[in-house]
């Protein structure tokens, strides 16, 4: 703040000395605009997150993510369609993820973190489920979102793993096991969650921050000075059009960048999966190995 203040004082001194005020005031105002926008840009937080072994959220999003290729193409697509249909009907997002290896991580942590990072389930309902299978470790885990853990209790998840997944996986019937588990899970969750009519219509918030107000203030200054300077014909004309274009574009860009930072992830349409809803996971669920 201090160098800025000194700068202002210096500029003010210069101005009071100079008679040709219109030229200098315009420069001062523009200098301020630059300084203010610089400060504003510097105030943006750096969006960086620690890297982990969790795979990045798939783009385009899918509910079946068979990284370990336990299913063939058509099995994977059929299962995905089932999950999408269930999501459309109930808004519940059940994600099936297979991986090659946990790379020394606990499967419970891995599955919970994956659900958390991908944001599986709707944000307000927490109705997400992750069925994670690690091929190399021969382990599986059902992680439940905050909303589903009261229905899919840990004991229920354990039962699904022991009844549906392990017997099938032991015989190499991955597709049958996953389909049975899905049928079991969706059967238990039926009636608990409903899809909102016309959901995913996000309200766009208009955020006015102090610096935008400062820009407005400068426009006011310009406007007032053009009125005060009405007798001074040359200034009145000079300040008018050129500066209003300048300020118009400055404001336009400032508001534009303010609203574009909102989170957009709903690009899909038709029969495909629309995207994860931002649900969260608290460590619930159960695992097993085959």
């Amino acid at each position: 703040m201090l160098p800025q203040r000194a700068n202002i004082k210096a500029n003010n001194k210069v101005i009071s000395k100079v008679n040709n005020k219109s030229k200098y005031s315009a420069q001062l105002v523009k200098g301020f605009f630059l300084l203010a926008s610089l400060l504003w840009i510097m105030s943006f937080p750096l969006l960086s997150k620690a890297k982990s072994t969790i795979p990045a959220r798939p783009d385009p999003p899918h509910l079946v993510n068979d990284f370990a290729q336990l299913l063939n193409q058509s099995e994977s697509e059929t299962l995905e369609q089932k999950l999408i249909e269930y999501e459309k009907k109930t808004s519940t997002q059940i994600a099936i993820v297979t991986i090659e290896s946990l790379e020394e991580e606990e499967i419970a942590d891995y599955a919970t973190q994956l659900g958390h990072e991908w944001g599986i389930g709707q944000k307000d309902k927490g109705n997400g489920v992750v069925l994670l299978v690690s091929k190399g470790d021969r382990k599986m885990f059902i992680a439940t979102g905050y909303g589903t853990e009261t229905i899919l209790t840990d004991a229920v998840c354990k039962r699904i793993i022991e009844q549906d997944l392990i017997p099938n996986f032991k015989q190499g019937n991955y597709n049958a096991g996953l389909n049975q588990a899905f049928a079991h899970i969706s059967g238990l969750l039926d009636g608990s969650f409903k899809a909102d009519s016309l959901n995913t219509s996000q309200s766009t918030k208009i955020r006015i921050d102090p610096l935008s107000l400062i820009f407005l203030f400068f426009i006011l200054v310009q406007f007032l000075s053009s009125i005060f300077g009405k007798n001074n014909k040359t200034y009145g004309r000079r300040g008018g059009l050129a500066d209003s274009i300048f300020w118009g574009s400055a404001l336009g860009s400032s508001w534009g960048s303010g609203s574009s930072s909102s989170f957009k992830d709903f690009s899909g349409g038709g029969g495909s999966f629309g995207g994860f809803g931002g649900g969260d996971f608290g460590g619930g669920g159960a695992g097993g190995s085959w």
Partner: protein
């Protein structure tokens, strides 16, 4: 020649007003940020308490199930009950989550963790109990609860770290000191709670 002076004056006043607005918005922004980080830490603390409470709630059922099968393990069962009572008695004021009170909370809870892992070791001697459906369900609930505890503790530490980092930096440190915001404590990773039950020859 009066008008140009008026304009210059207007600009000077404007500049002072601008500095005022900037200073105000920086102070206000910092204060608001401190408040919201503080609230984040408090709400993740309440999640931590929830999951520990969940574990406390499971224990009476667990004890009564085990009692039916393992009549000769009275000492272990009493140990669990006592540790539970001790853990229940520790209450932490969410407005004062400093290192000392977090440590006190953690000590009481880890006492229960080790009593529980002793119980789980003892249980291995009773095949009938291990086949009991009720016990198996309780066991998976207990495992799930330990996972939840790990998750919520980590999230609490993350929010506290964010809060502490923000708090200790300049110029927030000045405003935080003025407004009475204090550094919060972390959960230390304790060996007893993380390790799988191991057999001890005591």
């Amino acid at each position: 020649m009066k008008k140009p002076i008026l304009i210059t004056l207007g600009i000077i006043v404007g500049v002072i007003a601008l500095i005022g607005i900037l200073a105000f918005s920086i102070f206000g922004g910092t204060y608001n940020q401190l408040v919201s980080l503080d609230e984040n830490a408090k709400s993740s603390w309440s999640q931590v308490e929830n999951v520990y409470q969940r574990r406390l709630d499971l224990i009476p059922n667990l004890v009564s199930t085990v009692k039916g099968y393992a009549k000769f393990e009275k000492e272990t069962l009493v140990g669990v009950i006592e540790a539970r009572a001790k853990a229940t008695s520790v209450n932490i004021n969410p407005d004062k989550l400093d290192a000392g009170s977090i440590q006190k909370f953690q000590e009481a809870q880890s006492g229960l963790s080790s009593a529980l892992s002793k119980l789980m070791v003892v249980v291995e001697k009773y095949p009938d109990l291990k086949a009991n459906q009720n016990f198996l369900e309780l066991q998976s609930q207990l495992e799930g609860t330990e996972n939840r505890i790990a998750v919520e503790r980590k999230r609490f530490n993350d929010t506290v770290q964010e809060y502490n980092t923000y708090l200790r930096k300049f110029p927030q440190s000045l405003i935080a000191g003025m407004m009475g915001f204090e550094k919060k404590g972390y959960f230390e990773s304790d060996a007893a709670a993380k390790k799988a039950p191991t057999i001890s020859f005591e």
